[in-house]
Each structure stands twice: as C-alpha cells, then as structure tokens.
Chain length 711, copies 2
C-alpha cells in the first residue's frame, strides 16, 4: 500500500494530557461549560494542570480565568473548545497559534448544517495544515478516558458511566457509543476509553482505532461504521489492530436505502456498497454485528479470552426445553457441541440421581437446581471437561432464591476454571442472580440467539486469526481516473495473455478472405466470430457475434453478415475488424471474474460462477487486492457453486488450480497497474476439466486514458 | 380432511372446573402436595369445591381428607394427581371409575424414563378409552388459569407469575412456557391461560390451542413446537385459531441435528423435517420465531392490534445514529417507512428549532429531549400522521430523568392515539422510564433487531390474513403404505395424461422395428429413447437412454444398443420395452415438481426450477395439498428462479399459467388418491414459452401396492 497519508500520530497526549485549557468555561447550571468543568474536576481524578478561558469572567468556580488562549503562559496539550459556533474558528486559530497540540471541539453547527458549516470546517482543516494542531470534532460529545479517570466531556451522563475496563470505543456520533458503553457496563464490562469524534474534520475513527490498538489496557475495540471517509487509513488501522491481536467489533449502518439516506444526513459521510463493505470487513477480521446488543455480546466475550476457531461447546441447563433449544441453535449456527469425556460423565453421574440421563446438553433438571452443592459439582465437572472449550448456561426464568444460588455457584466455579462459562439470562425479569453474575464477571447474555451468535462470531474470529498473514497489506485506493478508455475484446485478450491468463487462439480478420484464412489457421474446427470495435460494448445486441462457424465459406459469409448487421446501427468506420477465435471443446464451467476499483477501499476482486448463480443468487465472493494463492483459493471455495467445480453429483471436477492461478495473475497484473486499471471483467472465464486450464472467452478492460500499462 | 380423530372436546370444565379433588394433598413444607394446596387456596381466588384425598391422613391444613377417590360423594370435574409414580395408574383407574372428567397428572417417571414408563402410559390411554376421562399429563407442571384466578400447579413460581392478560400459552414442557410468561409479564403483558401437558398421553398442545381459539379473553396463542404427534389435529387446531382471528406464535425446536436429538430425548416426540415444518407453519399462518424474546416481541405486538400487511412505519428518535440504525434495519427487513404528510411536517416544524431538519426518521435531537412539552408535541404529531401505521421509538441509553419524562410522554401520547407506539429499550441498564412504559402498556422491546423482526412478522401475518381462504382444509395424513410399487416412466406418464398434465408424444417399442416405426409415427423428427422397466430407476446410469435420434436406422440401432447395455447389468427379462418419445423444441425451462406424503402433515407439494437452483441453492417452495390456483401461483412466484420464468434479462417469458394449471391438476389427482399415492416426482417438467404449455419429460410415481388409482 502507498504509505502517503497513512501515518498515525501518537495520541497519548490527547487521551491523557498533562495540561488542559477549557475555553468556554462556565458556572451557569446545566450549561455545557459548567458540566464540562464539573466532569473534569468533580468526576475525574486527574493530576494535570487545568486552565480556564472566558472572554469576560476572571474567575469561575473558584478558578482563575484567562480572557484568551493567546494569554496562556504555556501551550497546553489539549484545548477543550466549548464556545458558540460563530467563535469556534477564531478560538481554534488562537489555539493553533499558541501551540496547542490537540483541540477537542464540542461546538456544533458546522458540516451537519450544510454549506456555511462546510466552509467553517475547511477553515479548521486549514488551521490543522498550517499549525500542526490536531482537531477532534467539531460537533462531538467529548473524549472519555475512563481507565485514566479523565472525562473531557460535557455529557451529564458521564458521571454514571465510569466503569473502567478492557474495551475501547471509537465512534463518530454519541448515541451508539454511549448505548454500547452503558449496556456493557450494566453487564459488568467497562469501557476504558471512548473517543467520539463528531464531524471528523481532522482526526477520525481510524486514528482512535490505531491508538487503542497500541493501548495496553484495551483488549477489544468497538466501532460504528456509518461511513468510512478514508478507506486506506481505515484498513491500515484495522490491520494494525489485527497484528496487535485486538479484535474490532463493528456495527455497520447503511445496508439499505433508508439507512444510507439516514446515515448520510446524520454524518455526511459516504456509506459505500453494503456488499463491498461486508466483504472488506470480513477480510480485515472485523467482527461485523447487526445491533448494539450483539456488539456488547461479541465484545464482552472477546474480552474474556482469545478464540482458537476450534471451540467445542457444552450446554448446562436445568430445563429440558431450554437445553434442547440452545443445542438446536448451536447446530443451526454450525457450531460444535463437545462430546463429554468418560471421566466427566462419571463425575456427573456421581452427583446426579440415577434417573437423570447424562449427556450434552447436561440437563440436571429443575429438581436438582435447588441443591446448590449439586449445581456446583455438576457445573464444575462440565467446565472441567477436557473436550469442552466453552460452557453455555441458559437460564430460562428467574426462580428467585434457587436462581440466586445457581448464580453464586456459577461465579464460584468460574473462579476455578479457565473455560469460559457464558450464562444467558433469558427472562425480562432481572432478578438477584443476574446481578451476582454481572458482579462475578460472567457478563450474562440476553437470549439464546444472542449467545449463540456471539459464540459463532467468537469462533469465526479465531479461525480468521489462525489464517492471518501479518505481512499482507491491502493495495489501497489510487485516485479514480478523470477520463477512461475501454479496450476492444481483442486488445483486452492480448493484455490477459501478457498477464499469463489463457484465452482461446484468435486472429483479427480485416476482410472476408482474412476470415476464411484465419479459420484454416485455427485448425479448421469450429470458430466464433465477433466484431472488434472500441465503440461497441454489447456485441450480441448489434448482431456482431456468430458462433459455430465450421467452414471457409461460413467464415466468409459470417464476416460479411457481421459487417452488414453492425452497419445497420453504426457507421462502417467503427468496425476495426472481426475476431476469429477457436471455440473451446465442452465440457467447461463458466465463471465470472471482475476486478473493480471501489471508491473507498480500492481494488476488489469478485468471483462467481456464471448465469443463474451470480445473477439470481448473488453467489459471489470478494477479496481486496492483492490476492494470494491461499486467499484466491478461499474465494473459490466459499461460493456455493464451488460444488459444481469440485465435481458435483459424481461428475469429474474442473481445473480449480488453474483458476486459482489465473486469479492470482490477474491480481498481480492489476496491482502493478493500480493507477491504470479501473475495471477488468472476464465473463465468462471457461474453467475446463482438471488439468486443462482456464480460458477467458470474453473480457472488458477499462483503463485510465492518461496512463499506460506496465508489465 | 378426513374428520376421524379431529374432534376437539370442550375443555371449559378442565380450565375452570366447578369442583377439584387433589389426590396426594400434603402439608409437608415444599412438598408437591403442599405447594399445590397452597396454590389452589392462598394464591387462587376460585369459588368451586375443593376436596382432598390422602391414603392415611384424615385432615390436612384444616381440611377434611378422603382415603380414596372412590369414596367421594360426587364426581369432581378435575382430579389433580400428585401421587408417587407407582400409585399413579391405580389412582387414575379410581378417577375414571368415579366419573372424573379430567385428570391433571403431575407425577413424573413415565414415558420420559423409557420402556417401563411407556407401558404405564399405555395403561393410562386405556383408562381414557374405557372411561372417557381425559388425561392432562403425566409429568406436567400443571394448568394455570390466570384470568380465572385458579392455579392448578405445584410450582413455587406460580405465585409470582399471576398477571392476567390476553395471551394463551400452550406447551408440553414447563421451562419454555414459563420463560415466555415471565418475560411477557415483565413487559406488562399477562398470560391468561397456560396449559402445559407434559408427556401428553391423551390431551395435547392441539387441544389447548383449539380451546384458546374459542376463549374470548385470549387474543394471541404462544406455543413451542418440539414435536407434533398428530399432524392433522395440529393443523385443524391451527386453522380453527386462524378462522377465529387468533394468531399463533411458535418456537420450533429441532432445526438441527443437535436440536432433534435433544428434543427427542426431552419430549419423546418426532420433530420432523425442519424445511417441511417451516413451510407448513407458514401456510397455516403460524408466526414462527427463533427464540423466547422474539416470541414475546411478536405475541405482545399482535396482542396490541390486528395487522393489515400494509403497515408504514415512522421512526421517532433523539439520537441520529440510533435513528439511522433503526431506519437501516427497517429497510433491510423489507419494511416500508412512511412519508410524513405535509401537515405532520408543518406541526413538527412548529415544535422544533429551525436548525433541525424534519423527515422520517423524526430526529428531535438530544437537546430537545429534555423539553418534555416538545417530546409530547412531536411524538403526538408523528403518531397522528395519517400516512403512519406504527411508530418505533428507539431509546439507546437511559438518561435518567430525561428518559423518565420521555417515557411519560410516550404513555400519555399513546393514550390518545390508535397508532401503536413501539418503544425499544436498548440499554441493559433498566431505568425508571422502562417501568413507566411497561406500566403504560407500551411493552418495550429489547433491541432494534428484535423490534424490526417483530414488526416484520406482524406485517407478514397481516398479509397472510388478507389471503386466508377460510374454507380451505389441508388434505391431512393418510396412513403410509406397508408395501409400495413404482410405476415405469411410460406408465407414470399415462397417469399424468389422465390427470390432465401434458407429456411428449410417446410410443413403447418392443422391437427395433417397432422403434423405427414409432420414429416415423412421431413425425420423423428428433426423438428420445428410454428403457421401460419397473426394476430400473436410474435409466441413464445403465445406458438406458439415447437422445437426439433422427432416423429410422438410428432408432433401430438405439433400440439394440439400449437392450445390449441394459443387459450388461440386468437379466433381459427386466426390459419391458423402449419408450420412443418426440423431443421438445427449445427453448424451455426445466422445473421440478414433487408431491410426497409427509409422515406428520400429509401430502406436500415441492416446486423449484431444475439443476443448480434446486440442488445448490435449495430454491424451492412448498405447500400442503390441496393447491388452489392462487396458492399454486404463489408457490411459483416465491422462488427466486421465478425471474427466469417471468422473462429474465429481457428474454420472453415462459408459460406460467400452464405451469400453475399443471400444479393444480396434480394436486387434484393426488387429493383424489390420497390413500394411494406415496410420491410423485416430475423432473424435469419442461415449461415452454408463453402459450405453449408444459410437458413432463420424466416422471416417477410410487403408489401403495394394495390400492388402485381412481379418476
């Protein structure tokens, strides 16, 4: 990846400054200035130097006030800007001039308001460029360093949400950040650092992710993807987190038209294509979730341990129906239940009455639930089982005292074993047992579906980690071309040959006699004939294609026929010739391979099998460039049509090795020409029987008109 | 449907008896007998006559005791049987002899324990058959008539779960029933009646559903489908509920192997095929959900109003991110956001500051949230909007007092409008506002996903209701054949012709000369030749098929070739002849139509388009027989491959009308021969261009060997 613009500044002095100036301090109750001051003092435990600025007041809440940032003796690490919109740019100019490192701008009324706001934001960016001061905001709710006990926030909710913990939260807006944080805290898992950068005129979510990846006290990062402004920086930050072993859990907003519209009006960022986004996030190991509770589920589970991708699960229950439901959903999710070791079965039998059958799910029955010694003994035996990596404990109802005792047992057992015990508090009635499990660090989930989904994501993340190539870097986005040119099929195929991808033998004929000659030279078998013209994209529609030509006479006639039909719709000068091409022997399978430049993330390769599979069932896989042999093979394998290639219903298989090689060669070619190639589509790419290779039967190549291809 | 066994007894005296005898009463603390007595007296408010039976005690808790049911002066409506397992059958015999109408049997240790238990259950069924007394249980947690203030239950939890309400709960086991009930009550929606029939030796879930469908105080029925014992009775009960306008919300357990196994060991019932089950439930209008919280969501929403299927939704929020997320998920679910009427927009603008853009989602911003007059005014304007049928109110965090005020506003506004307001309390921190909304009847949901899913199901149920044909009855299950016979292709095609379904013209040849003659008689075009043998099912595999035969000589050679190849693997006597059949002109699309007898629900029709669509993508639709023209058309339309039939990518369409007609004719034929036809598969059924009809190119028909087809 081109490294221009991919630097990440050290944000240590932003998240834990040694000195802060609050511009717009106030003591007016419930004002932004007053609440911020209160959060910085009463509700923080921070040893740095706090200075206040107010245009007219000389003292606020017993602290001296300066009239302007310009008057400060020393340049503070952070300026918190809580001034009216019309004073913000001037204040930032003063901050930049005074050498402030970071400005946190609460003030709203900029980009989110339209044109005038955009102009002010441009001025802010100009201040950043000129002075090197970095801006966090504007229109942001502040920065909460909870592990550092420092709240740089005007929110009246800050004081209630101060449970330290292993999660970093990086968002643009406030609502979805605080919603996550509050729920996770209610489950006993705190957020160590919350960065919420609002309109992001300068610093953005990617910067906070990068910073959290380096923070030793953060184990999991949560973010909301409402729109990625700078794809390459986002990818670089995500890969940095991946290499540091910090999973990113993300909610994507903008999967439907309503969401795209609402997110655009809300954050003024491009949401991009949901399909491309989902593919990119998956490739970067981002755990994409659909809702806030699912984010809490995934993040709290990932904070409890590192997944391997091979997790085997035991269900421990005291209601047969709930155990069956949980086991059922584990199966539907494609997860694996553990087979209890004989010693575990023996130990369970020791505790349980003889009439209780022992297996997985471990159903100790409701009668046993009231005996807390049996609960402890059997739950411990289950969690100690050598074949079990994770114990799910669904609790369908609050039975009062019995449930309380069960919760205590679960906390005690967990204290003695590594295997995570994941309780599910299914009922909407939140009883005492729930609080005990929250206090005990068991972070109870809210439904069987939520728990199973979280465990599936946990396991899938482990599998992704096990295949992570830390050296791999996405190609990144080159600038889109101002002007493009589309190659003729014949020219595109010459490029493919250069790139090492097979095509049928072909000759461009200029005359009918040429065509007859070409037919002979191609072996006198069946040929296809197609008009060559850089002006015609849909050759069939204008009568520019003839198939199955099997003699010299037919070749001559086809040449004349094509020219005549094309001239019905076009001036004769558009015809550059007719491509005469040997037709491939059946059988083969038709694949579609496309590489296009995504505006946000750069070149993406799409693979699918032709016809119905791609068009009706959207059975395609996608990868960022560059492909590796392993990733290209995975692309092919993860389509459902892979069964056709591998040898469906007893048929012999097709040449998957050659297909994988072709994908990698196409990727290498585009990677070398990232500034040139806008789009390359091979449709169809014939995949022939095993050992016989692949051949591009048609190809469209669109390039930047101002650049030339290199090899 | 055959009505044998489909009678439903009036259960009024079971759910609200005038007299009860408790057999196995006790005053030993925490014993089943003592808890039941307590539930019947202290925690019930019931005016009937209670009698106690105990083998040795003459008085318990101040009430007189009889030694045996035989000693009772009058026959009570209900006997509650809470005796040890070894005394249960004897007690039931006494009850039956004494004329008890219904026995509720708590006692466990029967079918769930294996062989010996099964024998005892058979004796119980014999008592039912002999005396007419109906049995509820054994191994059941009791029957809670909460609206009737009568708890016939030994559960210590009964006393805590007594909120009356509009929901009926019909389950086998206890856990998933109480889990639902407790959660719904915690959201302010009570369960009027809970029947939980345990091992179901006699009465079963279908009986309770039928009873609840007739109960005026029950509006929605919740059930758990762990296994349907008697498909026709279940379908009859469900259709009865449908005709009474009572939606059934159901959780299915047994969608994966783990679940099938766990449910089987738990309930000893057959779970059946998940695909067939899902199709049947959908056709019966059952709202199938995946988890307990989703059941509570769907049931509480359906209890609030009747859906039309055309619901348009407004999102009201005060966090841009949450509004965008909610709108996004509404779009992903295929639901429709409302376009606010101009008067609504004007009213919203009257309340909101000028900088707030007005649209749907209605985002009043967090600043406005603190002004409860604005919240009330804008929420009322949104709910009053003439284009809006439902308002979703996502609440991402508990902001304490502000959220409390907002909740009060929501309850007040709801009191004045019909349009349901559906709040979503997203946070795990349950604040005061949550309780206010619960008290106010707003039944807050737990996540954006949950709410959107529930609204989608609500709307889909409305759409289903709008197409309900109250006269339609499923064909039901005839007995499976002991011995079956499979027709040859030629014979099966003659049956199809009789049924009014087109096949290619064909002649069975006995000699090579016959074949040449047939070729001429079929028009001397291209023919297919296929071995006729009732012993060979895979004709191609044994070399029994030749295609594209285009001359007399080829026909003769093909006849001899087929005979020779088939004789490589079989004795010549298996060859009954060779079917010579005119080949259809292209183009046509290949469909697959199958009708098979499902062991639980009877004959089901499966439709899909051939090849990849059916095999790799499982793109099929299913319907119970009999099909109607409308249901057959819907079957065709709901496959994704429908696009191919309708005219994919500018191609002309195929003969959907003829396809629909063929489906209905096949259904009519099987309906007339429900006791004969085991399975009928047409693969492929060629669907020709519009106006040209359909033709069965191959067919397999398997019938009961002991029965004959009628027309």
């Amino acid at each position: 990846m081109n490294n221009a613009g991919l630097e990440f500044q050290d944000l240590t002095r932003l998240v834990m400054p040694q000195s802060i100036v609050l511009v717009g301090a106030s003591d007016k109750p419930n004002s932004i200035g007053a609440r911020t001051l209160e959060n910085l003092t009463t509700y923080s435990d921070w040893g740095g130097q706090l200075t206040l600025v107010h245009p007219t007041r000389r003292e606020i809440a017993g602290r001296a006030c300066h009239a302007s940032v310009r008057d400060l003796d020393q340049a503070p690490d952070v300026a918190i800007v809580a001034v009216p919109a019309d004073a913000a740019v001037e204040t930032l100019r003063d901050c930049g001039a005074r050498g402030v490192r970071f400005a946190i701008v609460f003030t709203s009324g900029f980009g989110e308001m339209g044109e005038a706001g955009h102009a002010a934001e441009a001025q802010m960016r100009e201040i950043v460029a000129r002075t090197g001061m970095r801006i966090y905001g504007p229109n942001c709710p502040g920065l909460n360093n909870i592990n550092g006990k420092l709240g740089m926030s005007f929110s009246p909710a800050y004081r209630f949400d101060r449970m330290p913990g292993p999660i970093g939260v990086a968002t643009q807006g406030g609502g979805l950040g605080r919603a996550f944080m509050q729920s996770a805290m209610a489950r006993g898992v705190g957020t160590g650092l919350w960065c919420s950068g609002g309109n992001e005129v300068d610093l953005e979510v990617s910067d906070y992710i990068h910073c959290m990846a380096d923070a030793p006290d953060i184990r999991v990062i949560y973010t909301v993807l409402e729109g990625v402004r700078n794809g390459p920086r986002f990818m670089a930050a995500a890969m940095h987190a991946a290499r540091r072993g910090k999973p990113i859990v993300a909610i994507k907003v903008g999967k439907s038209d309503y969401g795209v519209k609402a997110a655009a009006s809300h954050t003024a960022a491009i949401t991009g294509s949901a399909e491309i986004n989902a593919a990119v996030y998956r490739e970067l190991g981002i755990v994409e979730v659909d809702d806030i509770d699912e984010a809490v589920d995934a993040a709290t589970l990932l904070a409890r341990g590192q997944p391997t991708g091979r997790e085997k699960i035991a269900v421990y229950c005291f209601s047969g129906g709930t155990g069956a439901l949980t086991s059922d959903r584990i199966g539907v999710a494609g997860l694996t239940m553990s087979e209890l070791a004989p010693a575990t079965v023996a130990e369970l039998k020791r505790w349980l009455p003889p009439y209780v059958p022992v297996g997985n799910p471990v159903d100790v029955t409701a009668e046993v639930l009231v005996r807390s010694d049996i609960t402890s003994g059997t739950l411990k035996a289950t969690a100690d089982d050598p074949n079990t990596d994770l114990v799910v404990l669904p609790i369908p109802v609050d039975y009062g005292q019995a449930t309380t005792l069960m919760a205590q047992s679960a906390v005690e057992v967990q204290a003695g074993v590594q295997t995570p015990i994941v309780p599910i508090w299914i009922s909407d009635r939140i009883g005492e047992g729930h609080g005990i499990m929250v206090q005990g660090g068991l972070a109870p989930m809210r439904s069987v579906r939520n728990a199973v989904t979280a465990i599936r994501r946990f396991t899938e993340h482990g599998r992704w980690r096990s295949t992570l190539d830390p050296a791999w870097r996405p190609l990144g986005a080159a600038r889109a071309a101002q002007e493009t040119t589309t190659f003729t099929e014949a020219a595109a195929k010459r490029v493919l040959q250069q790139a090492g991808v097979g095509t049928p033998q072909g000759i461009v004929a200029r005359t009918a006699e040429d065509a007859a000659h070409a037919w002979r030279r191609l072996g006198a078998g069946k040929v296809a004939m197609k008009v060559v013209s850089s002006r015609i994209t849909h050759k069939t529609d204008v009568g520019g294609v003839r198939l199955g030509i099997a003699s010299e006479a037919e070749a001559r006639a086809a040449f004349d026929g094509i020219c005549a039909r094309v001239c019905d719709a076009h001036h004769p000068s558009v015809i550059e010739g007719v491509l005469v091409e040997a037709m491939l022997d059946e059988p083969f399978v038709e694949a579609v391979v496309g590489i296009h430049r995504d505006a946000v993330f750069g070149h993406v390769c799409t693979f699918g099998l032709g016809g119905v599979g791609v068009e009706l069932f959207k059975d395609v896989s996608r990868r960022l460039l560059p492909l590796t042999p392993a990733s290209a093979r995975a692309m092919v394998q993860e389509t459902r049509c892979h069964a056709l290639l591998a040898g469906h219903r007893g048929q012999a298989g097709y040449d998957i090795d050659a297909l994988v090689q072709a994908l990698v060669r196409l990727s290498d070619f585009v990677a070398k020409n990232a500034g040139v190639v806008e789009e390359l589509e091979i449709n169809p790419l014939a995949v022939r029987p095993r050992g016989q290779g692949v051949a591009a039967l048609d190809a469209v190549l669109t390039c930047n008109a101002k650049e030339t291809l290199t090899w």
